[in-house]
Symmetry: C5
Subunit: 253 residues, 5 copies
C-alpha cells in the first residue's frame, strides 16, 4: 500500500475541505446535477473514444496507484545476473540456471531463450519487441486517463454555461440568482478537482510505473545478452551498472 | 455494432438532457442560428483546409465508430502462422499455403510475396512500407476530425461574441438582454458539445483502431519473414508472442 | 480551380453573414480601427519574425489554395515506371527513356541520374536529400501561416483590451458604453475569423499538398532505384504499389 | 540592416498607436507600475531560469534581428566547391586550395581537415558534430526568448489581478474604479504587446537564421566529403544542388 | 552560490512588492486560506502523481538552483585529454593515467574502462548508456517541477471559484463582497506567482544544468574512445573541439 498516495489524497482533499468549511459553503461539495453532468459526460465520452477491451482494464490499473506492484531493486537484479554468470561459467548454460531467477515471467522467459540456445540477435530482437509492445499497451491506458482529465474540466465548463443560462432566465429575481450561480460553478469545481486529483495524477503515476518497469526489463535484456556472449561476471556487472545512478552504484561493492 | 459506443452516447447526451430539463431550459438545445453558425463554420473551414479527396471519406470513417471492423484476434493469427509453418516444413512453400490464410488482403499479399520467392529484404521493405503508408493515410483522416474539434469551440465562441454585441446594443432593455445572452451562450454550448461528443471521440477511436490494425499487420510481417527464413513452427510462435501481453500469451499453450 | 475551397469559403462566410444579419448587426463586419489593429499587427509581427526572402513567397503559396497544382495520379506514375522498365529491358538504359516521362522536373532529374550511370547509393542519397530539403522549405511557409494564425487572435484580444479601457473611461455614459464595447469585440471577431477562415486553413492545406507531393516524389525515387537495380517490370509495379491504399491498388490490373 | 524588420516594427506599433490615439487613450501606453511589474517580473524569472553564461549573450543575439549576418548564397558556395574541385583535379589537394575559400571559419576548418588528409568518416563525424552542437547552442538562446514570451503575458495577468483587487477595495467609488481598472488592464496590454512584438518574433527569427546557417554548413560538409572522395566537379555540383529549390537550381548553368 | 539567481528572485519579488505597496494592498500577500489551498493542493497532487523515491530528492535538486554544481570548463577537459594522450603515447596505457584526471566519478570510470583494456564498442555503449540513463533520471525530476507548475495555477483557479461562490452567497451585502472577492483572487495570485517564480524556473534551470553536464559527459566519452583508438594528441583535440563554439575554440591555442 502506497502510504504517500494516501497522504497526498488526504492533504489535497483536506485543504479543499478546510477552505470550504471555513467559508461556510461545504454544501457545494454535494450537488447531484453537477455530478451527473461531469461524470456522466466524462464516462460517456470515454466510452465513445476507447474500445471496451481497454476500458474494462481501467479500474485494475487505477488501483495500482494505491497498491503499486513490488518491483525488484535494480541492485538485486544485477546481483542475480552476477550469480547466474558465475554458475554458467562453472557448470555451463543449463536448465538449472532458472533456479536462481526471481519469479518474474519476463525474467524467466529471457533466461529460457538463453537456455534454449537461441542466438544473440533473436534474443535481443524478441525481448526488445516485448518491451516496446509492453510500453505501447501501458501508454494506451495512461492516455485514457489523460483524455478523461481533458474531458472533465470541459464538461465542468458546459455545466457552468448551462447554469449561466438558467441565471440569465431569472434576471428579475436577484436572490435566486446567487444560488443558481453557485450551483453553476460547482460543475467547474467538480471538473477541475477530479482532473487534478484523480485523472492526471493516475495517468502520471502509471507512466512513472511503466518507466520503472521498463528500466528493469531493459536491465534483464542487457544481462541476458551479456550472458549469451559468455562475458565474465565482473563485466556483466559493469555493463548493467551503467544503467544506475552513482548513488545506487555505490550501494554495494 | 459497438454497443459500448451507443452506451457512451446515451449516457453523455442523457446526462446533458437530464440537467437541462431539470433546470427547465431544454429549449437551448434547439437554436437554428447557433447551429448554422457552428456547423456551417466548421464544415466551411474543413472544406478549405482539406482536399475533397479526403473529406469524402469522412462519413465512411465516422461510421466505423458504430460499426468497427472485425479484426482477427492476435492469437488466431499466431495459430495460422504456426499451421502454415508446419505445412511449409512438410510440403515446401507452395501455392497451397494460401488455403489456410484468412480472407485479409494484406495477409494474402504477404504470403503471396513469400510464395513468389522474393527475398527477405524485399518482403520486409515492401510490407513495412505498406504499414507506414497505411498509418499515414489513417492519421490524415483522424487529423481532420481533430481539426473539426479545434474549430467547433472557436466558432462557438464567435457566436457568443456576436451574441454579446447584440446584447450590448439593447442595454436599455434588460428583459430581452437575458434571452439574447442565453442564445449567445448556446453557440458555445454547441461548439463544446460537438467537439467532446463527436469530433474528438471519433478522432480518438480512429487512432485506436489504426493502432490495433497496424499491430496485426506487424504480426503478419514478422510471421512472414520468419517463414521466409525457414524457422521451425515453435520459433515462429515464440517470435510472434513477443508482441502479446502476458495475459494473451497464456491464453493458449 | 478548387471548387470545394470556394464552397467552404461561401459556406463559412455565409453562415456568419446570415447570423449577423438576422441579428441586425451586420455593421460590426466593417470597422476600420479593428482592421488596422488586427491586420497591421499581424503583418508587422510577421515581418519581424520572418525574412523577406520567405514572406514574398506567401501570396503565391496562398493562391495554391484556390488553384492547387495538378499532381499526377499515383497509378499513372506506376504505369510510367512499368513502361520504362519494359523499354529498359528491351533497349537498355538510354537517353530515349526520357521520352516516356511526364514533364516533371524532379522526375526528369531522377531518370537523368539513372541514364548518366550513377550508382544506386548516389541516386538514392541525392533524391532523398531533395525530398527532405523540399519538405523543409514548404514547412517554413506553412509555419508562417500558422504564426499568423497565432498572432491574429492575440491582436484581436489587444484590441478588445483597448476597447475595454475606452469603455471604462466613459462609465458615466452607459449609452455610449454599449457601442464602444461592441467595437471592442469586433477586433476579437476579426482575429478569430481570420485565423479560422484564412490562416489556419491555408497552413493546413499547404501541409496536405506538401504531403501529397512528397509521396509522389518518394514513388519516383523508389521507382528509379528499382530500375537502377534492373528489377523486372512486375516487381517494379509490386514495389511501388506498396505505397498505395488497397482501393487504389485494385483500380487497375 | 534588415529594413523589413524596421517596417514590421513601424507597422505594428503604428497600428497600435493609431488605434489608441483615435480613442483618446494614448496615456495607457505609459504606466510606470505596469512596466515595473511586467518587465521586472520577466527579467527576474529569466535570471532564475537561465544561467548568466547564456543570458549575457541575449542582447547580441537580439541585435541580429536588426542586423542579420550576411550569409553566402547557396549558389556561391556550390560555385566555390566546383572551382576547388577543378583545381584539386589539376594540382592535387594542397594548401593552395584555401585561397579560393571565402573567409568563413567553418568553411576554412572543413577544407583544412581535407588538406590535412583525414579520412572521410573523421571529416563527416567532426563536422556534423559541429553542426549539431551549433544548433543546440542557438536553440538554447531562442528558447530563452520563447520563455520570456511565455512569462510576459502571465505577469501581465498578475498585474491585472492586482488591479482588480485594488478596484474591489474601492467599490464604493465608481468614478475612480474606471481609472484603476484601466491601469489594471495596461499590464496585460504590456505583457501581450511585448510578447508578440519582441519576444516571439525575436525567437522566431533566430530560429530561421539558425536554420539558414545550418543549411549552408550542411552544404559545406557535403561538398567537403565529395571532394574527399575525389568526385569530379560536375558530380560535386549535382550532389550539392540537391539541397536547392528548383528556382535556385536554374539560376545558373 | 549563483548570484544571478538571487538577483532574479530579488528583482521579481521586488517588482511585485513595489506594485502592491504602491497600491496599498500589500495585505493580499498574506492569506492563510489561499496558501493552504494552493500549496496543500499542489503538494497533495504531486504526492499522488509521483513515487516517494523521486519526491524525496526534490529539495536537494531545488537547492541546485542557488548552489549550482561546479562543472569543469570544456577547455579544461580537452586540455586533460590532450595531456593524457601525450602520456599514453610515451608510456602506454597504464594505471598512472588516472593521476591526471579531475576527481569526477564519470571521468574516472571512463578512463578505468580504457585502462582495463575493454574494446571501443563496449566503452562507447556502456558510457552512452550511462548518459542516456542520467538524462532520463534528471528529466524525471524536472518533470515533477513542471507538473507542480501546471497544478499551481489550477488550484489557484479552484480557490477563486470557491471565493466567487462565497461572494454570490452574500450578494445582498455589497461591502463585504469586495473583500471576499479580493481574497478569492489571492489564490490565483499565489498559483501564478509560485508557478512563474518557483516551479517553472526551477524546472528550466535543472534542464539547462542537465544539458550542460551531459555535454561534458559526451566530451569525456568522445575523448576516451579517441584515446582507445590510439589517436595522436592533436587529433584528440580536434575531435573534441568540434563540440565547442568558435569563441571557445579560440580561447586557447
Amino acid at each position: 500500500m502506497d502510504l504517500m498516495t494516501i497522504a497526498g489524497l488526504v492533504l489535497g482533499t483536506g485543504a479543499v475541505y478546510y477552505v470550504l468549511s471555513s467559508g461556510g459553503i461545504l454544501g457545494i461539495l454535494f450537488n447531484v446535477n453537477a455530478a451527473v453532468l461531469v461524470f456522466g459526460g466524462v464516462i460517456g465520452a470515454t466510452l465513445i473514444t476507447y474500445p471496451w477491451r481497454l476500458i474494462k482494464r481501467l479500474p485494475g490499473c487505477a488501483s495500482l496507484i494505491l497498491f503499486p506492484p513490488r518491483f525488484s531493486e535494480n541492485n538485486e537484479i544485477i546481483e542475480v545476473f552476477e550469480n547466474v554468470a558465475k554458475k554458467a561459467r562453472k557448470d555451463g548454460i543449463s536448465q538449472s540456471l532458472l533456479d536462481d531467477i526471481p519469479p518474474d515471467s519476463f525474467f524467466l522467459r529471457a533466461i529460457s531463450l538463453l537456455i534454449d540456445g537461441f542466438d544473440g540477435d533473436f534474443i535481443k530482437e524478441t525481448l526488445f519487441n516485448e518491451i516496446s509492445c509492453f510500453k505501447r499497451r501501458h501508454a494506451q491506458i495512461s492516455d485514457i486517463f489523460k483524455s478523461m482529465g481533458a474531458y472533465a474540466p470541459i464538461f465542468g465548463l458546459l455545466g457552468t454555461l448551462i447554469g449561466v443560462v438558467q441565471v440569465l432566465r431569472n434576471l428579475s429575481d436577484p436572490a435566486s440568482m446567487g444560488v443558481s450561480m453557485a450551483i453553476a460553478i460547482t460543475t467547474t469545481f467538480y471538473g477541475i478537482f477530479s482532473t487534478n486529483f484523480i485523472f492526471l495524477p493516475v495517468a502520471g503515476k502509471l507512466s512513472v510505473l511503466t518507466e520503472r518497469e521498463s528500466l528493469i526489463k531493459q536491465l534483464i535484456v542487457e544481462g541476458t545478452t551479456s550472458l549469451q556472449k559468455g562475458e565474465i561476471p565482473s563485466v556483466v556487472r559493469k555493463r548493467l551498472q551503467s544503467f544506475l545512478a552513482d548513488s545506487e552504484k555505490n550501494s554495494k561493492k
